[in-house]
């Protein structure tokens, strides 16, 4: 049995620890498809964001490709279990895992579910998601995160575009989840977190036929991400394509937020001052598809952004991402 210990804090950074464990169990050196029987042990999990949750589903789905359904040991923390239940995690996990452990009941907690884990497989799913989220998102962004209404409308636009990224490029289905919570330890303010994941062909696979030849030896998961993320390239000839991601970056930058995309063996990010992630990481454990994390903090005043002692973000995007 290949045991993958889920870190106590599970987000876009610590997700890679689980992937490394999955890889160690794969004798064929793949992404974990041949890892044998896998146990994802979440007993010590104390905090998880939407990205971490979708990551658990994604790891389970990849491990199951080997033929045996992996096992999932549920967290000991009642709060975490309750939160996972409210995010509909167990409904989706039951399709991927044999679940072991105690109660899976939802209860109240300090976080607010904006969109529970939702599959994205068609454009009609995007319509449903925007319909369900728009009014709640407007209320949260204006009343809790202090954004003016005219900016808050952009949240649904961003969510729509990021979900379409799966349908248009992944050649596989995926999931989306979004939630708001008080990120007191890390940032001292409320945030909205969006996670989108798929297990499709990834940016490398999506762009290869159109762009790999031009890059020659430099073609890699990292260069594919740079091509899409920084230069707005897509596999389509249509010059109107590719702007969704660019507009998402622009909006996240305006909000002093963070966006990162992991695909294959690389991760690229627009990193605000309040975060210490590198803008580009390579040689990560290989994993199929694309995994997108967006974090939007409550509105920062100019004073917040300028104060050297605060952990507020400075504007991003003026000098690119590198």
């Amino acid at each position: 049995m290949n045991v993958i210990a889920v870190p106590a804090t599970l987000d876009d950074r610590s997700f890679d620890q689980m992937l490394a464990a999955l890889h160690r169990g794969d004798p064929k050196g793949g992404a974990g498809e041949a890892a044998g029987r896998v146990l994802v042990d979440a007993r010590k999990l104390r905090w998880v964001d939407p990205y971490g949750m979708l990551g658990l589903l994604a790891i389970g789905a990849v491990a199951a490709r080997g033929g045996e359904k992996p096992r999932f040991q549920i967290p000991e923390s009642a709060d975490v279990v309750s939160y996972l239940a409210r995010m509909a995690f167990f409904d989706h996990a039951a399709e991927v895992y044999d679940i072991h452990g105690g109660s899976r009941r939802a209860g109240d907690s300090g976080s607010e579910v904006l969109l529970e884990i939702t599959p994205v497989q068609s454009h009609m799913d995007v319509h449903r998601i925007v319909d369900r989220v728009n009014e709640r998102a407007l209320a949260i962004l204006t009343k809790q995160l202090d954004y003016p209404l005219k900016e808050a409308f952009q949240f649904s636009v961003m969510l729509s575009e990021v979900c379409q990224n799966i349908i248009d490029h992944a050649e596989a289905g995926g999931w989306v989840a979004t939630q708001t919570y008080n990120w007191s330890r890390r940032l001292g303010r409320k945030v909205v977190s969006i996670a989108v994941m798929d297990l499709g062909i990834g940016f490398y696979g999506s762009l290869a036929s159109e762009h790999a030849a031009r890059y020659g030896d430099r073609w890699s998961h990292a260069s594919a991400l740079e091509a899409a993320f920084i230069h707005g390239l897509t596999r389509f000839h249509d010059p109107g394509r590719g702007q969704g991601l660019q507009q998402i970056r622009k909006q996240v930058g305006r909000w002093n937020g963070k966006i990162s995309i992991r695909s294959g063996t690389a991760r690229i990010a627009d990193v605000p001052a309040w975060d210490d992630a590198p803008p580009l990481e390579e040689d990560l454990p290989r994993f199929p598809g694309a995994q997108i994390a967006i974090i939007i903090p409550s509105r920062m005043t100019e004073e917040d952004a300028k104060s050297p002692t605060s952990r507020a973000a400075a504007p991003v995007g003026k000098g690119g991402t590198r």
Binding site: H123, M124, V126, H127, R128, V130, D131, N134, L149, K150, F153, Q154, S156, V157, S160, E161, Q164, D168, P239, G240, Q243, G244, Q247
Partner: protein, 196 residues
């Protein structure tokens, strides 16, 4: 009616159209297939008319407009009727746009060097998309005059006739003003919506 011949006004409430042509349950203008369906529906009605057509795209009831849908609906519609093989003469005005839509439309048009006449919700007519200062000045001068020939607009702008003519020709090519060949006369679009 104008010297352009009969100009047929067509108005599309896009929020209503999306329910009729794409999905009864959903009213937001999101996704490329939604934009494609809207565009094809609009295009087929314009083509059926077979006359000079001034089309109002009404966004008053639209809450969410994403980039993909805006690109498929507005940008591709303009491109279709800019081409030499266009099925008929058609011009476009977006109406009822506000903060929810404006930035999105600006971005998708600007990216491809396109522009469209607009009646924002606050009522002040303008052109959005990629438009230079010279183009905007000429467009506004024509908007005030309603219809005019080059010397009148040049006089209003205090610019040389040749420069103004160049700008107006470009605005006509981009379908944000209409043009009659003989005598060479330019028409602001909004007054054409008013009968008489």
């Amino acid at each position: 009616m104008s010297d352009l011949g009969p100009v047929v006004p067509l108005r599309f409430d896009l929020s209503d159209l999306v329910r009729k042509s794409v999905a009864t349950l959903y009213s937001h203008l999101v996704t490329r297939p939604t934009g494609q369906a809207l565009r094809l529906g609009i295009e087929s009605q314009i083509t059926e008319l077979g006359a000079v057509c001034l089309t109002v795209l009404d966004f008053s009831e639209v809450v969410v407009l994403d980039y993909s849908c805006a690109e498929e609906t507005i940008a591709k519609l303009i491109q279709r009727f800019q081409r030499e093989d266009r099925p008929t003469e058609a011009f476009f005005i977006v109406r009822g746009i506000d903060d929810r839509h404006r930035e999105t439309i600006e971005a998708v048009l600007g990216r491809q060097g396109l522009a469209i006449a607009a009646e924002p919700a606050d009522g002040r007519a303008t052109v959005i998309g990629q438009v230079s200062e010279r183009e905007m000045a000429a467009w506004q001068a024509l908007e005030e005059l309603g219809r005019a020939q080059v010397p009148a607009i040049a006089a209003k702008l205090g610019a040389a006739d040749a420069d103004v003519e160049e700008v107006l020709e470009e605005l006509a090519r981009r379908r944000v003003v209409a043009r009659m060949a003989t005598p060479r006369t330019y028409f602001a679009l909004r007054p054409l919506l008013t009968p008489g």
